[in-house]
Symmetry: C5
Subunit: 87 residues, 5 copies
């Protein structure tokens, strides 16, 4: 999994029907110090009630679909935890 | 998933038979500001009626095949949404 | 999927038995302008009769195995189309 | 798989229920010489009793979930070995 | 798949039990000219009898597990061929 910070939300009216009702958040990967990395932002499906500015754990690839209620949804990135602390 | 902008279309007469009838669009990944990133373009299968110049959400890896009508097609990238706005 | 140009062929006598009889081509990723990118070459299984110098579409990851006749072969990259044109 | 060094631990109260009870360690990829690479840290599930400062082997992608007791957990990175030596 | 050169061997006493008995080789990706690339080394399971200094073909991701005798092993990289020549 990766650490990231939620920086935005995407709206898409035309989309795969299995994505209807999902919250699509833009997550920017962060480093150990919590600072955003100079890498590509990821569109993640929120499954834990994350909000803008929160630091999160997200999973990528086919395993992301396991976090969905609709297990058949075509998603490759999902937020699966909100970071409390990093020791 | 990733954000991208559709920049072209690929034609391939000789191809895997399960790709016949698919629309293969060249999608360039974009950043939060909508500006194309300096990364490799991706050949994506369009599943939502996207066109050149539109900003889209695309999924990569094995989950992309879920967006296909032919679930057995050998594809690893598919457009699954058209971006209305990014807040 | 990605665009690439076939630049070589690999011969391997000792290999997984499910790879016997496959044509292993070295494919260099290319950009929109058809120019080879400064990225790592990929060993791809040819499934459409590609040859050296041809521009191709290749699929990576587990979906590549779908393009194989032996669906159980341990491959993660396969050529699935020959590019006619890019508009 | 990749080599890394465990550099921290993440706490997340709100998370996917299948992650409850897992130990989430921050692992920094390392090179042949054991020196941390300038790459993104990875949140890995510990399955072998690794601790901070230990050099480990970790697996990424869907195969990581195989290392879990709960095979249905949405994870994409897991520590599967502690490195004794590198010859 | 990728081309690489075997540069070392990792020993790990504490590891996932399905990795017991596997030979874990450190493989450095190489370019078309056979020169090691400046990329991260990969821990690969040897399935073809490769040795230090040999140039090999390795597969990454979930397909790597297909090369294993224990199909349930949590591995994401495996050597599946020894390169004879590159034309």
């Amino acid at each position: 999994m990766e650490m990231g910070i939620v920086v935005g939300r995407v709206t898409a009216t035309r989309k795969d029907e299995r994505l209807v009702g999902t919250k699509l958040l833009v997550t920017q990967p962060i480093g150990l110090d919590g600072v955003p990395l100079d890498s590509q932002p990821v569109i993640t499906v929120d499954t834990v009630g994350a909000g803008i500015g929160e630091k999160v754990i997200f999973v990528k690839g086919s395993m992301a679909s396991r976090a969905m209620q609709n297990k058949d949804a075509p998603v490759d990135a999902a937020i699966v935890g909100i970071i409390d602390s990093l020791e």
